[in-house]
């Protein structure tokens, strides 16, 4: 006796869909215009070469990608950290202004480093000076990264400042934020790019206000180290 009537020729090629995700009431990807199974674009050339070498690209053949953002390119002048820093500088969506300011700051860095380079007498001194403003920027951000920070935790009605280890991402954010704050806090006659250039150079030499701010934070952490075990999730 026939038990089941099955539909024949159900087999057909289909495009990737995520029906269950669409059905669920709460969307997992917030208000994004893209469906949740879209992946982020891999637009840098060297990253793509790696992708094709280790065979990961084969797996992506069936998954749609999001469009590359308007500030992402595969050009050699592109740098992820600098893009991030530029977006942190940006106020009320004026991206071109932010870019202009940062480019000016980099120009300033280059000029003052070149000046130092030409003033330096010995070969040894000349070699010590970093001329690439991007490298200066990376050194500055690295030097300003804190390794600990303080978080207020309430125990028995008293708030304690407890030193807590910090994630890589957050420490990078703090470092960049401090650099920008230091550059914004200036006299009226000095412009932002100029000040930022000085701060970058100072920080890359492990001196200056931002590095001091980091050390102050570490000092506070040291003072409060007795509370370190107060931490819980």
């Amino acid at each position: 006796m026939a038990l089941v009537k099955t539909l024949a020729n159900l087999k057909s090629v289909q495009i990737l869909t995520n029906k269950l995700a669409a059905l669920s009431v709460v969307q997992q990807n917030g208000m994004s215009m893209y469906p949740p199974y879209y992946i982020n674009p891999i637009f840098k050339k060297d990253a793509q070469v790696e992708l094709f070498e280790n065979g990961e690209a084969q797996k992506l053949a069936h998954i749609p990608t999001k469009a590359a953002l308007i500030d992402q390119t595969c050009s050699i002048y592109y740098d992820d950290d600098i893009r991030l820093f530029r977006n942190y500088i940006m106020r009320s969506g004026r991206k071109s202004l932010a870019r202009e300011l940062l480019d000016k700051a980099f120009e300033k860095v280059k000029r003052s480093q070149l000046e130092k380079f030409h003033k330096a007498k010995t070969e040894e001194d000349k070699n010590k000076i970093v001329l690439d403003p991007r490298e200066v920027f990376h050194m500055a951000v690295d030097n300003c990264k804190p390794v600990l920070f303080l978080t207020p935790i309430k125990r028995g009605g008293v708030k304690y400042q407890v030193p807590v280890p910090i994630t890589e991402k957050k420490s990078q954010f703090l470092s960049m934020k401090w650099l920008i704050e230091a550059a914004t806090d200036k006299e009226r006659t000095v412009h932002f790019p100029e000040k930022l250039a000085y701060e970058l150079i100072d920080a890359s030499n492990n001196t200056g206000r931002v590095v001091k701010r980091k050390q102050d934070l570490h000092r506070q952490c040291e003072a409060n180290r007795a509370y370190a075990h107060y931490r819980w999730s």
Partner: protein
Amino acid sequence: MLRKFNARLLQLSNNAACTQLVSKLPLCTSAPIEDANKKVVSKAMKAYLERAKEHDEFMAQKNLEFQIGKRHLANMMGENPETFTQEDVDNAISYLFPSGLFEKKARPLMKPPEEVFPQRKAAEFDLMGRPHHFLFYTGKPNFYKLLYDIVERVNECNRYEDAMNRKSIQRDPNLVLEMSGYQWLDKDALEKQCVEGINDKEYNNFKDAMERLTKLPYSYKVKDFIMEYSRPLMMQTKTHDVPELQYDKDGKAFITTYECLRKRARADVTVSSPGTGKITINGEGINYFDDIHCREQLLFPLIFTNLHKNVDVVANVEGGGPAGQAGAIRWGIAWSLRSFVDQEIVEKMRIAGLLTRDYRIRERKKPGQAGARKKFTWKKR
């Protein structure tokens, strides 16, 4: 009364012990027993037969109506009713009842009744009311049988692995079941296949079980079974055809992409080869854009494909701001360049997110709020 009694006795008579009892009873005559023998049907079966008859009649009625309707429609459209196909019916319906409804299911349709009314299961029990299927009392025998089958396959694979280990034979690393290009049967299709309603949790159970099976080292042994419940996915690059190159009177190859959209901007982009990397936007050069990042965006697809010195770009763009215009032209260039490069680079461009149309637009301001998301400062009174 006597008949009823006999009928009940007959139900018992499956047991060998009872048959003797029947024959010994003086009241029973042979004739009514034979009569009852034909008519003993369980209540469930009776109800089923009734329902089935009703359903068949209903379907026959609907089928007749459909055939008549189809002939009418063919006459209305002035075509031969004998050769009027389902495709013609669909076209006629969308012509006669044009609908602007977004939901496709809500639009008027005319389909054969077998497609419109859900399929029904045939009888799952015999005349005595005894089910055929060993999982009948789960309520969803076909679905649970499927899970049962999956576990059988898992055990089979495990047994095979054990045997291989005992013989100390290494698995051939090339024989791996690659499932990245496949998707599990979706819930609706599985429901249709099982002819049973399945809830989300059960569907997830099915997917988990299948995934467990495919992860086993020797899962390629049961490839046929796994393939039965998975569907191949389309290659993303093949979702759109690459257009053929066109040639102008100088023999220059070119492709024009119309309607390149981004935000509020709209552009028509023509890419031609051979060229020198000249970019013309609304009659101006790349200086049309003041901002560097907009210029960078224009160059992105050209640099990516290493064609920035070999092709010329002419774009007409209107609407929107500089970023939107640059984005529109970028997409237009990338979309046109597909014809100039080979399949591999098209795939690379797709992974780089150059071939995806950016549908993100400005979110509207909401009443009672300061902006799209921003709220007014909260005041108690």
